[in-house]
C-alpha cells in the first residue's frame, strides 16, 4: 500500500470548485514536486493532506491513517506528516531549541533530555548547531527556514510537506535551504514539494506533478515532464518558466 493515497478528492471554497477530482499515490521514499500556475490548487492539495483544510468528496490516507480535520486525527497525523511553510511560522517567543523541542515533549511526551538530544542532532543536520539558544528574529530567512525544517524533522515524520519554502527568501539564501532538502531526499524521507524552482524539480525529484485548474493535468518523471510535455497547457507552462 502506498504511503500517501489520494482518491478522487474534491474541494470547494463556498461555490469555488478548487480541487476537481485529484488522484495521486505516493510510495515510501519518493520525492514528488508539484508545479503549476498560481491558483491551480497546489497549496490546497498539500493542506488537505494533513488536515489543515477539509475536502468535500473523496478520501485521503497517509501512513494508514485517514486524513480529516478532526483534532484527534490531525494530532495523530502530526506524528507521520511534517509541514514546512512559505513564511517559516517559527514561534518568535521561543528560542530555536525550544521551537524544536516543544512538540516532541508535549505531543510525543519525550523527556526534555531526550528531546534536547534530538533537537541538537536535527540542528546539526541543517547546519545550525550553534544557534540552539538564538531567537528566530536573530536569524536570517534562510536560517529560519532551516530551523523550521529541523523542527519538523524532530517529530520524525514519514512525509514532509513543503509549500514553496524558498519563495519568501532572498535569492542568495535559496541555495542553503534547497541543499538541506536535497540531503533529506538522499536520506530517503518521503517529500512532497510545491515549488517554483524548476531546476530543483528536475534534478531532485522522482516524479513531477503538474496541476492545472484543480486537477492533476500531467505527471511523470522530471525528464518527460520538462522535455516531452504531452499537453498544450504544460508546454506553455514549461516554456514560461524555463
Amino acid at each position: 500500500m502506498p504511503l500517501v493515497k489520494i482518491n478522487d478528492v474534491h474541494k470547494y471554497y463556498g461555490d469555488l470548485h478548487v480541487l476537481k477530482g485529484v488522484n495521486l499515490s505516493i510510495k515510501q521514499g519518493e520525492v514528488i514536486c508539484i508545479i503549476g500556475r498560481s491558483g491551480s490548487g497546489k497549496s490546497t492539495l498539500l493542506r488537505c493532506m494533513n488536515g489543515l483544510e477539509d475536502y468535500q468528496k473523496g478520501g485521503i490516507t497517509v501512513d494508514y491513517k485517514e486524513v480529516t480535520t478532526e483534532d484527534i486525527q490531525v494530532k495523530a497525523l502530526a506524528k507521520s506528516v511534517g509541514m514546512i511553510f512559505q513564511n517559516f511560522n517559527l514561534f518568535p517567543h521561543l528560542t530555536v531549541g525550544q521551537n524544536i523541542m516543544l512538540a516532541p515533549t508535549i505531543v510525543l511526551k519525550q523527556s526534555t533530555e531526550e528531546a534536547r538530544v534530538v533537537a541538537k542532532k536535527m540542528l546539526t543536520k541543517v547546519g545550525l548547531a550553534d544557534k540552539f539558544d538564538s531567537y528566530p528574529e536573530q536569524l536570517s530567512g534562510g536560517q529560519q527556514q532551516r530551523v523550521a525544517i529541523a523542527r519538523a524533522l524532530a517529530m520524525s515524520p514519514k512525509v514532509l510537506l513543503c509549500d514553496e519554502i524558498t519563495s519568501a527568501l532572498d535569492p542568495e539564501l535559496v541555495g542553503e535551504v534547497l541543499k538541506v532538502v536535497e540531503q533529506l531526499a538522499e536520506e530517503g524521507i518521503t517529500l512532497i514539494l510545491v515549488t517554483h524552482e524548476m531546476n530543483f524539480a528536475r534534478d531532485v525529484s522522482d516524479r513531477v506533478v503538474f496541476m492545472n485548474q484543480g486537477k492533476i493535468w500531467e505527471e511523470g518523471p522530471p525528464k518527460d515532464i520538462f522535455e516531452k510535455p504531452q499537453t498544450e497547457e504544460l508546454k506553455l507552462f514549461v516554456n514560461s518558466v524555463l
Binding site: K79, F85, V107
Partner: protein, 216 residues
C-alpha cells in the same frame, strides 16, 4: 455632633480604602479568570460559543455598570439568595471587567499571524496546548499595557458599590460628608486617594505601551 479633625477624616477614609483595594483586586482577579474562559470559548470553533461571547460583551459593555450592580443585587436576592453588597459588587464588577478584558485580548490575539495556529496544528498541539504554549505567551506581551490600563477603570468602578451600600472609599466619603458638612474638603481627600491608587497604574500602562512600541 462629634468633631472630626483632618486626621480623623483621613484615617477613616484610609480604612475604607482597604475595601476599595480589596474589591478592586477581587474584581480584577475574577475578571481575568472569566475573561480567560470566555477567550477560550471564543477561539473554539463552536459557533454557538462565539456568538454567546459576542452577546455577552455587547450586553456588559452596552449597559451602565450601575445597572449591572443593581441587577446583581436585586436579581439574586429575588431568587431568594441572600446577597451582601460585597458579593453583588464583586460579582457585577467581575462580569463587567471580563467583558472588557475579553475584548482587549481579542485584539491582541487576532493580530497574531494565522501561521502560528497552523504550525502548532501541524506539530500536533491541541487547541489548549496551542493557547498555552504559543498564543498566550505572545499575546500577553501586547495585552499587558491595555489590561493594566483597564485596571484603572476597575478601581474607579468600585466607587459605584457605594450606591448599593457597600462601605468603600466613596461611601465613606459620603458618610463623612454627612457628619462634617465639609464636602469640599472630604471629596478632595477622596479624590486624592483615588488618584494615588490609579495614577501609578495609568503610568505603568503608558510606560509599557511605549516600551513595547519601541521594541518593535
Amino acid at each position: 455632633m462629634i468633631e472630626f479633625s483632618n486626621i480623623d477624616i483621613i484615617r477613616n477614609l484610609l480604612i475604607a480604602t482597604q475595601w476599595t483595594i480589596l474589591l478592586s483586586l477581587a474584581a480584577f482577579a475574577g475578571g481575568i479568570t472569566v475573561a480567560l474562559l470566555l477567550t477560550a470559548a471564543r477561539l473554539n470553533k463552536t459557533p454557538l460559543l462565539s456568538i454567546f461571547v459576542r452577546i455577552y460583551v455587547e450586553v456588559f459593555q452596552g449597559t451602565p455598570l450601575l445597572m449591572q450592580m443593581f441587577l446583581c443585587f436585586f436579581g439574586l436576592s429575588m431568587i431568594s439568595i441572600e446577597i451582601s453588597a460585597w458579593n453583588a459588587a464583586a460579582l457585577s464588577l467581575t462580569l463587567f471587567t471580563s467583558a472588557f478584558l475579553v475584548e482587549i485580548w481579542r485584539g491582541c490575539i487576532d493580530t497574531l499571524p494565522k501561521g502560528q495556529w497552523e504550525a502548532s496544528r501541524c506539530l500536533g498541539l491541541s487547541f489548549l496546548q496551542t493557547l498555552r504554549y504559543i498564543i498566550l505567551p505572545q499575546a500577553i506581551k501586547t495585552a499587558l499595557a491595555p489590561s493594566i490600563g483597564f485596571s484603572v477603570q476597575v478601581v474607579k468602578g468600585t466607587a459605584l458599590a457605594s450606591v448599593i451600600g457597600f462601605v468603600e472609599l466613596t461611601k465613606a466619603g459620603s458618610m463623612l460628608n454627612n457628619a462634617t458638612f465639609e464636602p469640599f474638603k472630604v471629596f478632595t481627600f477622596v479624590a486624592i486617594i483615588y488618584f494615588i491608587l490609579c495614577y501609578p497604574l495609568s503610568w505603568t500602562s503608558k510606560f509599557l505601551e511605549k516600551k513595547f512600541n519601541a521594541s518593535r
